[in-house]
Subunit: 764 residues, 2 copies
């Protein structure tokens, strides 16, 4: 696999910088320069549009249209929702000398884009040269408020460099953006209103009927004139330019999706716009910097190179890991229980804005240790979408609740039945997420209020889906697709059986404790769910009778018959065959021992403390050479386990481009959007892999292993009201309790108390 980094951006510890504009990379840059604040997202496109290659993506979280797929078989969805570009609140036009600015055709120089990760701002500047030789320096600033999800800001600055004269600047709002893949604008003719230097517009999405409002208060350097175009409204003003004197225009926008419609939405939007306009752009920017400064205080990861030779590579890693956690925080930072984390965040339309089980399996650890409230809110999303999961289970002729493999709103949205109907991992991942969250945070209140109900319904689903061998009577899941998506309709997938067994046991244990400790809540839950007395005992029976196909050496067969499958020598696959889904016939992918991503190893990662080292080793050694890593989360899981098994070279090799997956367009498809959930694994790769954090045992555990090319690794974790600051260095690692009460943790397997005096763990 000759994937290769494509280093293009300037390395800087806190910024992503592009110098010069390469049209061939236009969309990669747009993805990388995406801004988001959970409520909405914008790709780093040119405000003024133009003819350069671009995906003008402006998204509002939770806003989608709906496809009618048509009826096929029972249990296969007949409609599906998909993210659509929503309000275009950055419409801008600049004309000078009779030319309209278009970087696809214009002459320009000194092009620079800069994403500042301490401010959450994107700045773009260049000097535009008109045909007549006039030069004007243009600077575009934009940011999305991290504290007020509906607010977005833009400042456009013009500075004549070699003339005095007049330009024209138009700023507008519209609902005219076309969904690229479907070549259709899903927005109906909008309602609009002008009020002096304010514009307001609202429209309704086809398919979903969702209504979105966008308003903006403009501050223009001249008297604005109003005009309309199809589905958009504009203000235009002359800009008097004097050589060397910058002139700016600003917009403070509010983009709202509240579920309200018509006049009620308009009224709500107007209030939001008033509140937004009550704060100056500069004050908003100051608040934005403060937010990020505070955020980085506990979320930052600092890496220093071991020496001069490693400096370039490690500086790039430093920039990369900050970019990963910055984008992850932009995509989701809690506060809304209506949103989840799309595979591409809010940076593109591929994957349709859908969230997968990546949320619980890959992203949750990052939030558990940097933003536990956000971790809880992600679980609330699952609780709020429990009705949809119940409906889905019924569609599948099952009881309880089956969580969707792909969704924005809680309904199953994956039209591929083989994924939607055979993958049970979304449901077991939700159960795992609850377990993991409660274990790490101790938030039992959540367990009693929401978790128990979800667990109960998931356990019901699993019991109605599990089968029993005709030969042995053992329980097992038949006809499934495990995390390795290269085998489908398999029986006794070890991951599915094991996760199912743990889920059933946890559900029974939880109800049993609840009955004892929270009798009233238990009684209410039992009534609400019509729980039958003997149900938890049946879950236990299935859990205990579940078949886990492990031999005497600890080697676990991924599923029945896996060991017998024909072998594929993955090293012999020519580079030009990747990605396999594009180059191999679909069925060909599914019939050898080649696996796409960790499956047995995934369960050894998730329930790490439940398996002895020898089991991890024998399975790692068996499965690693059979794994093609066609999922971008795959190398990180391997890296974490390799580090644990003291295969540091391999751990570092798999870490590889983890931190710069998108910055270096490693998978050749960053143009479509960022790999948001995958880059969450870059954080896990460092914290679980190299600091050896483990959060699935009785106690928090560390086992630091510093890669040779690093001199130092600093990071913090939040843990039950504590801030634990970790500094790993060559001679050893120090742990400091920056906030909170002393706590006993496992250090390389030994219980140690971390108190105000800190802990030092010498290098092994």
């Amino acid at each position: 696999m000759a994937k290769a980094a494509d280093m293009y951006f300037r390395v800087d510890p806190w910024k992503i910088i592009e110098e010069g504009f390469d049209p061939a990379r236009a969309r990669v840059s747009e993805s990388v320069f995406s801004l988001a604040n959970e409520a909405m997202g914008v790709r780093g496109f040119f405000d003024e549009g133009g003819s350069a290659d671009s995906l003008r993506g402006l998204y509002v979280n939770g806003v989608y249209s709906v496809d009618r797929i048509g009826k096929s078989y029972r249990g296969i969805i007949d409609h599906s929702h998909f993210l659509i570009p929503a309000a275009d609140w950055l419409k801008t036009r600049i004309t000078l000398d009779g030319e309209q600015l278009d970087l696809g055709t214009a002459r320009f120089r000194d092009f620079r884009r800069e994403l500042d990760m301490r401010a959450g701002t994107l700045t773009r500047s260049f000097v535009w040269q008109t045909a007549s030789g006039r030069e004007v320096k243009l600077t575009f600033l934009r940011f999305l408020s991290m504290t007020h999800g509906e607010r977005g800001y833009q400042r456009v600055t013009l500075e004549a460099l070699n003339f005095d004269g007049e330009a024209a600047l138009s700023m507008g709002l519209g609902f005219d953006t076309v969904h690229e893949g479907r070549e259709h604008c899903f927005w109906q003719e909008p309602a609009a209103r002008r009020d002096g230097a304010r514009l307001m517009i609202a429209s309704k999405a086809e398919g979903s009927g969702q209504q979105v409002f966008a308003g903006a208060a403009f501050s223009l350097p001249g008297e604005p004139a109003y005009f309309q175009e199809e589905k958009s409204v504009w203000l235009s003003a002359p800009v008097r330019l004097r050589k060397g004197q910058p002139v700016s225009a600003e917009r403070r926008a509010a983009v709202l999706y509240t579920g309200e419609t018509g006049d009620a939405l308009f009224a709500r939007g107007e209030q939001a716009l008033d509140a937004c306009a009550a704060v100056s752009l500069d004050d908003a920017l100051t608040a934005q910097r403060a937010f990020w400064e505070n955020w980085w205080r506990t979320a930052d990861i600092l890496i220093e190179p071991a020496g001069k030779e490693e400096e370039a590579a490690v500086s790039a890693e430093q920039q990369g890991i900050r970019f990963c956690v910055f984008q992850l925080a932009q995509t989701y930072h809690g506060g809304s229980m209506r949103h989840n984390i799309g595979a591409k965040g809010l940076t593109g339309e591929v994957y349709n804005g859908h969230a997968f089980w990546d949320t619980e399996a890959c992203c949750l650890p990052f939030y558990l240790f940097t933003n536990p409230a956000a971790a809880r809110d992600l679980l609330y999303f699952r609780y709020n979408t429990l009705p949809g999961a119940r409906e889905r289970a019924a569609m599948l002729d099952c009881r309880g609740a089956c969580y969707p493999i792909a969704t924005q709103n809680g309904e199953e949205a994956c039209p591929l039945w083989q994924h939607a109907s055979l993958q049970l991992q979304p449901s077991t991942a939700v159960a795992y997420g609850i377990w993991h969250y409660v274990r790490v945070t101790g938030d039992e209140d959540f367990l009693w209020r929401c978790g128990a109900e979800m667990l109960l319904e998931i356990a019901r689903f699993l019991l109605s889906r599990v089968g029993r061998s005709s030969l042995t009577g053992r329980y097992g899941f038949y006809g499934v697709m495990g995390p390795d998506e290269f085998h489908l309709m398999v029986n006794n997938n070890a991951y599915t059986n094991y996760m199912g067994s743990r889920t059933l046991t946890y559900a029974a244990d939880t109800l049993s404790r609840m009955r004892a400790e929270q009798p009233e809540a238990y009684a209410a839950l039992a009534k609400k769910t019509a729980l039958e007395e003997q149900e938890p005992a049946r879950w236990r029976e299935a859990a205990e009778g579940m078949y886990i196909p492990m031999d005497e050496t600890g080697l676990i067969e991924q599923h029945d018959g896996y060991f017998d499958l024909p072998h594929t020598d993955i090293d012999a696959i020519p580079v030009s065959d990747f990605p396999l889904y594009d180059h191999w016939s679909y069925d060909r992918i599914y019939r050898t021992d080649m696996i796409k991503q960790p499956d047995v190893l995934m369960m050894l990662y998730l329930y790490n403390s439940s398996f002895p080292g020898a089991v991890k080793r024998v399975n790692y050694d068996f499965y690693e050479p059979r794994t093609i890593h066609e999922s971008s989360l795959s190398p990180a899981v391997h890296s974490i386990l390799a580090a644990e098994l003291d295969k540091m070279d391999e751990a570092v090799r798999f870490f590889g481009y983890a931190t710069r997956l998108d910055l270096d367009n490693y998978n050749r498809n960053t143009r479509e959007g960022l790999h948001t959930t995958s880059i969450a694994m870059a954080w896990a790769n460092i914290v679980y892999g190299f600091a050896g954090l483990r959060s699935d045992g009785e106690r928090l555990a560390f086992a630091p292993r510093l890669p040779a090319r690093w001199k130092r690794l600093d990071f913090s974790v939040l843990y039950r009201g504590r801030v634990i600051r970790v500094r790993m260095e060559r001679e050893g690692s120090s742990f400091r309790l920056a906030e909170g009460e002393p706590v006993t943790v496992l250090m390389n397997g030994e219980p140690r108390t971390l108190d105000a005096g800190g802990l030092f763990v010498p290098c092994a």
Copy 2:
């Protein structure tokens, strides 16, 4: 499974008769009263249309439109063709007293439809009562020429019963028929021409661009006036009625699809119409009777009841089996190598007019023993579509030729990847068909000219698709779906492995013999196909190393892991759950030991003489109780094996409604069209099942077992230029050589020579 016969038509040995019109059964009757002649087909709808429930189906074999499905994964088709209703050459309108005839609203009496299987005619008559009390007896006759595929005939007779007066009769041609499922007329605005009492019209199908011509010479009882409507042209004439004096109008039509277009097609159509109009309708009808009389001479099956008690049931069976073979001969009787046998023949739009592997597995024996030239022509269809099969193999990243699971034109048309990509049985069935045809007919010329090339390419495909176990090195097919379609993506399906092995061996044997016996043809084939010297040896190696999962008792595991699957008690499934595809979630069907139709047993049926009786018995006893018979061909295969295993009660029970599947609407969906390929198994059920014919051994074999309720069974088989007449009676069976040279056959396993003296085999 409480499927039940719905006896509606009058029992008659040679006719299907409906007395009275039941609107609720309108579509079932339309299907049953379908006429076809291989080139075209018409359902038994009312010529005059009207508001009664109807599917106005007029089909031209090989004429279809094309759906763009859109790109998904490699190897999954992105377009698909489907049968569309074509030229409506039976348009008729009758008005009297200002009323237009519409049996959905009109008053009428003495309604009768009659399909005469010795004439291939459909007659419909009734007395129409207008509001004013006038009564006119109307008789509609239609037939399609069995010797000139393009010719269709209609006669309309009006007889005033209680008045003198004038009616108006319009007859037309059109391309305005709508595809019901897709709610669209796929025909473009036609070109039309009138020439006196002739009309001609031609149109082009959307999607495929195919052009069809329809012309008719009308003989009307008055001066015709011409008029047009959207996509149709008409002649209208007054009809002077005198009480008690019948008046008739006739049409002789020619419907042509030749691949020609525009003026060339029109010219060809005009010639065809001239030729058609040169023969009177009565003469054509005489010729039609002669065709069928000759055909029945060797194809008829005569059944007589054992006694008075059995008379009703056996008369119904007699009618039923004649209906089955009549419809099969209508659908296909050879002469065209462009056509195959659609699952519904030309009697409906469900299954899109596609042919499946049913042709070789179910239908071929009927043709081999009643019309060997047609059997050969069916194999020519596969030869002519070899290029499409080569393309399909390439789409699947394989070599050679992969025959489609569903097709009209040779291209894969099944949009369900799990069937199209995983079912290898179309390819092995084609190889089996060649083997079977050559074995029965001795036509080695076909083998050298066409068969060898198909076998070579199929063997190549299989070798590129086969895998080898990582544990044992044995060959096997991984990721397949066997004939039992309730398990998919399974490994080492016994049927697929065994059929694959036999195919590879046969291909190698054939090439080896060809090299020795037909060196020039062999050299030409090797050159044409770039055959490498060592290829056949590799096929043999795979064939010999193929894993057939049989235990020491002879029990064959359907596929790896089948015995371990959870058990479904099929008797416990409520009747209301059928058909399962409509009532069970799709994935649920696939994960227990319930099977849809014979899989292991299918291979024991096809290669019957290759397995000892004990193997058949142990597998029959194991699989029969696990089979739900959701395919209508399933009971016949079980019946044939049950008879062989001396389970006569079970054989008779499975025979059940075989002969009257559609006449009695046994599967509740005859309204959609006839189960054309399934009813082929009714013939096999009698001839293979009760006469014990076996055609897969070195010699033709018989082992008569007369069901207790029959006194006598008479039928004939054509065999290598011989006509063998079989008469089975209670005391024994006699075999008579009506034509041809003596031949040695196996009688109950013993070689016996059948010569002019005949043979008598006493009852065992």
